[in-house]
């Protein structure tokens, strides 16, 4: 069993090693995170100075929300499967298909390695963020639920990215779709503005989307807007999204793999 998993474990390790070769990017990503934490603090302070707290969410909670959301972004903003798009674009996917491996699992392992490397940046980033803002810490139970929900959200994000990159099987180019996806995730995922602040009429629809399952669900658990009695319901929805997106990803991958036709003959 372990021997079967060994190649994928190695893929993850190599992805971490690869990411670490771009040291400059590491520093810029930490610096840019600190800057965004600072800017969001400025914006929320200014907004709260002139308006009543929306939905009764106090200023310190919303600042906590923003800082945690940005830290989560260190992981969730990564397109772990961009390798697929690159490989389809330059045709090097053939080389992977000529190996005794499952290519989707390879992509998953590689993406996870990449993510784990960036996850290690959370510690210094958090330290830096704490110099700028105060972050509330909830109870251990809530933290545990947050961690689990965050973990589920990671898989939702993985499948969304995977499906998006699979589009390159047909189009080879996906940058426009990717850009739209980034905007939609930013807006409807609740990373920048809590979805609670959206008009009530659209809220139900937005909460039901997979984007909310990435950022909003774990964040609302963290700040206590989702009480423990609703955990099964919200995490159940996350799991449902993982299953649904996983199914779509499988179908689209199979169709794509069938039409791997690389340039030249």
């Amino acid at each position: 069993m372990l021997a079967v998993l060994d190649p994928y474990f190695q893929f993850a390790l190599k992805a971490m090693a690869r990411e670490s070769t771009y040291r400059f990017e590491v520093f810029t990503s930490i610096a840019s995170l600190a800057l965004r934490v600072y800017l969001l603090r400025v914006v929320w302070v200014a907004l709260y100075a002139r308006n009543a707290a929306p939905h009764g969410v106090p200023l310190h909670t919303i600042i906590t929300y923003s800082a945690v959301a940005l830290l989560m972004g260190l992981i969730l903003d990564i397109d772990q499967t961009s390798l697929l798009h690159d490989k389809l674009h330059d045709g090097s996917i053939v080389v992977d298909f000529m190996k005794p491996i499952s290519v989707p699992f390879y992509l998953f392992a590689d993406g996870t390695g990449e993510v784990l490397f960036h996850a290690a940046l959370i510690v210094p980033s958090l330290a830096l963020a704490l110099l700028i803002v105060h972050i509330d810490v909830p109870s251990a139970t809530v933290l545990g639920a947050f961690a689990l929900s965050f973990f589920l959200g990671y898989f939702v994000g993985f499948f969304l990215n995977f499906i998006l990159n699979c589009v390159a099987f047909w189009t080879l180019e996906i940058s426009a779709v990717q850009l739209i996806m980034t905007w939609v995730t930013d807006l409807l995922g609740g990373q920048i503005v809590p979805l609670l602040f959206f008009p009530a009429v659209v809220q139900n629809a937005i909460f039901a989307l997979p984007f909310a399952a990435m950022f909003s669900t774990p964040l609302l658990i963290y700040i206590g807007e989702i009480p423990p009695e609703r955990y099964p319901e919200v995490m159940g929805l996350q799991v449902a999204w993982i299953l649904a997106l996983g199914l779509i990803a499988t179908v689209i991958w199979r169709a794509g793999a069938r039409r791997v036709v690389v340039q030249g003959g």
Binding site: D6, Q10, S92, V95, F97, M98, K99, G265
Partner: protein
């Protein structure tokens, strides 16, 4: 088995690669010309069926080194992709080491090694050594075998100097040597080499050729080599398969191809005195640069001896030389004329 009794090896009577009536067609979008055509293609699609490979029947025995050659777009890569299992044939059958490649892609992958001259399987950002480690895990190569193979490859491919260099910093020649080691770490039964010497300098080309010859001889690895460099073929392959427009037009020994198609030889005559009006009725003058004249003759109708005699009857000469046709010229001729040839003739060879 007692010493002295050589094992017959794993050689089976079944060929290691066998294809029957292999055919592959692609559907491509037909688009009109210019911007209007490009925009039009977005909305209404007309498809065109393009035949890449047609009725290819190949049978290759274990331990053979076969040159698979043909002009660009002849169907070489398409065949190789079907043999590796990444393309599914439109019709016909394939068996590689007892496996139908596209049905059991991963199982087939364990039996094969692949080298693309224009594409690397090494990890771009990581030192060469790390790519080898990764491949060890992928193919589950036992540690001892891995050590042994790697030591051997390091020695004969001279990898030592750049084992710790990130692949992106390697020269083409270094990278290719790395790619060869990578493709062979798991002792594949068959290796597919697609233009392995493209862009390499003479020294690097020779190193690669020697390496291919070595693994074939030492391990009995079956080698399928596609290349445009016929020097590779002459150096390594006893058998060649020529493909053009998707169809096999020649399958047999290299020498036989030379015999069959290379019927014209050239006699170079150095005349004692320049003879600007040199003429020999019925003999074609290929090139004349007094005092040297190149005479083209068909060895099936004329012997060199008879031709020399005819020249010396009329002119005084100082030296003669006979030039055999270059394989390069023969293949070029087949590319140009092969299409008109009755296909039966090639298959009868």
């Amino acid at each position: 088995m007692p010493e002295g009794f050589a094992a017959p090896g794993n050689r089976s009577l079944m060929p290691i690669i066998q294809t029957r009536a292999l055919r592959k067609t692609f559907r491509s979008v037909v688009r009109g010309e210019g911007l209007a055509g490009a925009v039009g293609a977005l909305f209404s699609r007309h498809y065109e069926e393009k035949v890449a490979v047609e009725n290819v029947n190949i049978s290759i025995d274990e331990g053979e080194v076969v040159g698979y050659i043909g002009p660009n777009g002849a169907g070489k890569s398409t065949t190789i992709k079907m043999l590796t299992g990444i393309l599914v044939p439109t019709s016909g059958t394939i068996e590689v080491a007892g496996i139908v490649p596209h049905e059991k892609r991963r199982q087939n992958a364990r039996n094969i090694g692949v080298v693309f001259g224009q594409r690397s399987q090494l990890y771009w950002d990581l030192p060469l050594r790390e790519s080898f480690e990764l491949l060890r895990a992928i193919y589950r190569v036992p540690r001892a075998q891995y050590r042994e193979n790697l030591d051997h490859f390091v020695e004969i491919l001279d990898l030592d100097r750049f084992m710790s260099t990130p692949v992106r910093q390697l020269s083409l020649g270094e990278r290719m040597r790395g790619d060869f080691a990578a493709a062979l770490l798991h002792n594949p039964k068959i290796v597919y080499l697609d233009e392995p010497t493209i862009g390499l300098d003479v020294v690097a080309k020779e190193a690669i050729r020697a390496f291919i010859a070595d693994i074939n001889k030492r391990l009995g690895t079956t080698v399928i080599l596609t290349t445009h460099d016929l020097a590779d073929v002459e150096r390594l392959c006893r058998r060649i398969i020529l493909i053009d427009e998707g169809t096999v037009i020649y399958d047999g020994k290299l020498e036989r191809l030379r015999d069959e198609y290379g019927t014209h030889r050239t006699l170079i005559v150095h005349l004692k005195d320049p003879q600007p009006d040199f003429d020999l009725p019925g003999v074609e003058i290929e090139h004349a640069e007094p005092p040297t004249v190149n005479l083209k003759f068909d060895r099936r109708t004329t012997t060199a001896e008879a031709l020399i005699r005819r020249v010396t009857e009329r002119y005084a000469i100082t030296d003669v030389a006979i030039v055999e046709p270059e394989i390069e010229d023969i293949v070029r001729r087949i590319y140009l004329e092969g299409y008109q040839k009755p296909p039966a003739r090639a298959s009868e060879l």
